[in-house]
């Protein structure tokens, strides 16, 4: 028996919670939102989801092969990037747009940096922003929800945030939809990206992730809190011109971004303090872009900009080490 003994330095046990299980839990948490968006937008949404997910996995496998690295599909990160990318696409996206997005996400967003764990920017958001800038028309062609079985045809519509931006620019005043329709926003019955639909479904998934300790509360709470507080201040000052914080909260990609995109571990700070700063920055930039920027929605840009700040935040945010303050005193 002696030559079959393992020798190693401690510890000799492991929690069993491995990277693939973490990724899988995030995918589970996205299921309610994904299912609802398929319900509201029908087969086109399903096809975007499949093309993005399978596309990301395919490009991941391709890059591993080209770089002579072990196949990394099992860690689940490529599939997750695919799902997140799909949730950041308009439901009516053409197949080539979705496939191109998948290529950008995996090849440019992730693998050129060395694969999982090494990318500075959230790969799905890199792809979304590349698409948004390269194909502005396609990426802002929205359809009104046509729930499965309703017999409705998909008709062109604007997102609530888009309509608000247009109205404010043209008339200087908020449109009617900024004051009503909150129940629809809550359930997801509005135009938008696949994943920008139901606030309830996203919240459910987000709370699951926090309960399962896959993510901590710091980023979502400081991100959403900042948007609500700063959005609220503008609204309090000029309710004619600026929407109320609930509108900020329920429309656009705030909840998707705060729970699922900004919390991407690889591209966000590692300490609690750093996460709070990161979330605050995301929130502040989101409100500023929404209210004063050229784009109606600012969540993606805000997160990407804060991704760039992550190494800096990590450089200056350290936990207070046991016995350290006393040592200095």
């Amino acid at each position: 028996m002696d030559n079959q003994l393992y020798l190693s330095s401690s510890p000799h046990i492991h929690s069993g919670e491995t990277t693939d299980k973490v990724m899988r839990k995030v995918i589970y948490a996205l299921l309610p939102a994904t299912a609802l968006s398929i319900y509201f937008f029908g087969l086109p949404a399903l096809s975007v989801l499949l093309i993005c997910t399978l596309g990301c996995m395919g490009f991941e496998a391709l890059s591993c092969k080209l770089m002579n690295k072990p196949l990394a599909l099992a860690d689940g990160s490529a599939a997750l990037t695919g799902v997140l990318l799909a949730l950041n696409m308009p439901p009516s996206s053409a197949w080539w747009l979705a496939l191109f997005g998948a290529a950008i996400a995996i090849l440019i967003g992730k693998q050129v940096y060395g694969g999982l764990g090494h990318n500075p920017f959230n790969p799905a958001l890199v792809a979304r922003v590349v698409l948004l800038i390269s194909f502005p028309v396609q990426m802002t062609s929205w359809t009104a929800p046509a729930p499965l079985g309703s017999g409705l045809d998909a008709i062109t519509a604007a997102t609530p945030l888009g309509e608000m931006k247009t109205a404010v620019m043209l008339t200087g005043k908020l449109p009617e939809l900024a004051h009503s329709g909150f129940l629809n926003y809550l359930t997801g019955n509005m135009a938008g990206c696949l994943g920008e639909v139901s606030a309830l479904a996203l919240l459910l998934g987000g709370l699951y992730l926090i309960a399962k300790r896959v993510i901590s509360w710091h980023i979502p709470v400081s991100f959403i809190g900042t948007v609500v507080v700063i959005g609220g201040i503008f609204w309090a000052v000029s309710p004619e011109k600026y929407p109320n914080p609930i509108f900020h909260l329920l429309t656009g990609g705030l909840l998707l971004g705060a729970f699922f995109m900004a919390t991407d571990m690889v591209t966000s700070p590692v300490t609690d303090k750093g996460m709070l700063i990161f979330g605050f920055g995301c929130g502040l930039l989101t409100v500023l872009i929404r209210l004063f920027g050229g784009y109606p929605e600012g969540v993606s840009f805000a997160i990407l900009l804060m991704n760039a700040a992550t190494p800096l935040i990590d450089r200056f945010c350290h936990p207070r080490i046991y016995g350290q303050a006393e040592a200095k005193a």
Binding site: S8, S10, P11, S15, T19, G117, V270, P319, A325, A327
Partner: protein
């Protein structure tokens, strides 16, 4: 006893691995019989190894001095049964290499040395008590094996006000301290009284994790009349690490790079307290200890009173033998224990447990890239950034690792345990620590 109503104290960080204590927690301490030979290493404590003071062929009794302490930070060693010294030679030590040991062939009588006589602690002054503790070779029984008399000799400028007794036993699988608190309560409390007298202080607190409600109840009941406090602690590893225990009980943090005496605290294991009582009242040196022999790789896990020097193989044989093919033999617990080359080494003073895992009980994981999830940071009881230090260590950037306070790491293993990428974080930090220390010495 309603533990929920009690205020459970703890520290920030840590985690709770499955504790595996169900294997042995309910088993009363058995006396392990005499093996064919006892292998008693000269190095069983932190500090200089002892120097043999007997010749091959000498007849010794249980408790006879066989090796003298070499210097202040060292401890004497005594025969753990009566018999003949048959060899003084290098033998496989739990450290993983052959080290000098005194081998005794028991005569089967197991008779104590008649020259050992007890004393009444009430009639002795602190210095006399400390001398008895030193002569009995008492070392920290929690596993660190630091000579106890050294811990009890703080410099004159350090004011000690609190004695903490460590009954936490946060290492999974180990139940030796738990059983001692239930079965040797009186001895432990007596040892605490002696310790308080040596230190000249009143306040003594016994810290016990809340997963041992029976021990908390027993100790609380018996300690009440002696003015000794019992503090229930949250079930969390490494609650029993000295610094974390001090933080939980007193709210004080030991400054980086210093000893507990800096914040007026002395910590002793409950097993050490019991050994001190025996050393003073009965005059008996430290020649046996309670060991939990456990794990899925052992047929019949047990808590046993084992003579120092008993080969591990003998412990296994006495526990019904191996249960399947062993894949890892660990001295100590699964979080901080040391793997063994075989069952040949003996149990020594710091052996709190013998744990055997089979192949199917071991995590078989391949390390992947760090996903920067930050779990290691959340779990680190010192609040270090293990992933950052480990990354520097992998690149041999030791100055940077030191900047991130690698030397403050207590090597509890929480980071490696929790890492989703299954990176060997604490192992990399150990590597960095060794390199930083080596560099410091050459400066």
């Amino acid at each position: 006893m309603n533990l929920k109503a009690m205020d459970l104290k703890t520290f920030k960080g840590g985690l709770h691995p499955p504790d595996g204590k169900e294997f042995s927690a309910h088993k009363a301490i058995e006396i392990c019989p005499l093996p064919e030979e006892l292998i008693i290493p000269l190095a069983q404590h932190i500090g200089a190894p002892a120097e043999a003071c007997v010749e091959v062929g000498a007849l010794v009794k249980k408790g006879t001095l066989i090796a003298k302490a070499k210097g202040f930070v060292s401890a004497p060693i005594h025969a753990s049964t009566s018999g003949e010294v048959i060899a003084i030679e290098p033998r496989l030590h739990p450290m993983g290499k052959a080290l000098p040991a005194i081998v005794i062939k028991p005569d089967g009588e197991d008779s104590w040395d008649e020259s050992l006589i007890g004393a009444n602690p009430d009639e002795l002054n602190p210095d006399e008590l400390k001398a008895l503790i030193q002569a009995a070779g008492i070392v920290g029984m929690g596993g660190a094996t630091f000579p106890t008399h050294v811990k009890l000799s703080p410099p004159a400028d350090k004011q000690i006000d609190t004695l903490i007794l460590n009954g936490v036993e946060c290492e999974p699988f180990l139940t030796a301290d738990h059983r001692m608190m239930l079965e040797n309560t009186e001895q432990i409390l007596d040892g605490i009284d002696i310790l308080r007298k040596v230190l000249g202080i009143e306040r003594a607190v016994i810290g016990i994790e809340a997963n041992k409600p029976d021990a908390i109840e027993k100790m609380t009941k018996d300690a009440a009349s002696r003015n000794i406090e019992v503090q229930a602690l949250e079930v969390k590893y490494p609650q029993g690490a000295e610094k974390q225990l001090i933080d939980a009980i007193t709210g004080r943090q030991v400054p980086s790079g210093t000893l507990p005496m800096e914040v007026g605290v002395v910590v002793q294991n409950v097993g050490t307290a019991a050994a001190i009582s025996d050393a003073v009242r009965l005059g008996r040196p430290l020649v046996e200890r309670v060991i939990t022999s456990t794990g899925p790789g052992i047929k019949e896990p047990k808590n046993m009173l084992v003579r120092i020097g008993t080969p591990l193989q003998f412990l296994v044989d006495h526990c019904g033998g191996l249960n399947g093919e062993p894949a890892k033999i660990i001295m100590g617990g699964p979080m901080m224990g040391q793997t063994q080359l075989s069952l040949e080494p003996p149990a020594i003073r710091g052996t709190s447990g013998l744990l055997i895992f089979r192949k199917q009980d071991l995590p078989r994981l391949e390390a992947g890239p760090c996903i920067r999830c930050g779990r290691c940071i959340g779990a680190c009881p010192i609040h270090l950034q293990p992933t950052t230090i480990a990354a520097y260590a992998r690149l041999d950037l030791f100055d940077e690792a030191a900047e991130y306070h690698a030397l403050d790491c207590i090597e509890c293993g929480c980071c490696t345990y929790i890492c989703p990428a299954t990176l060997p974080l604490v192992q990399s930090i150990r590597y960095a620590k060794a390199a930083i220390m080596a560099k410091k010495r050459t400066l």
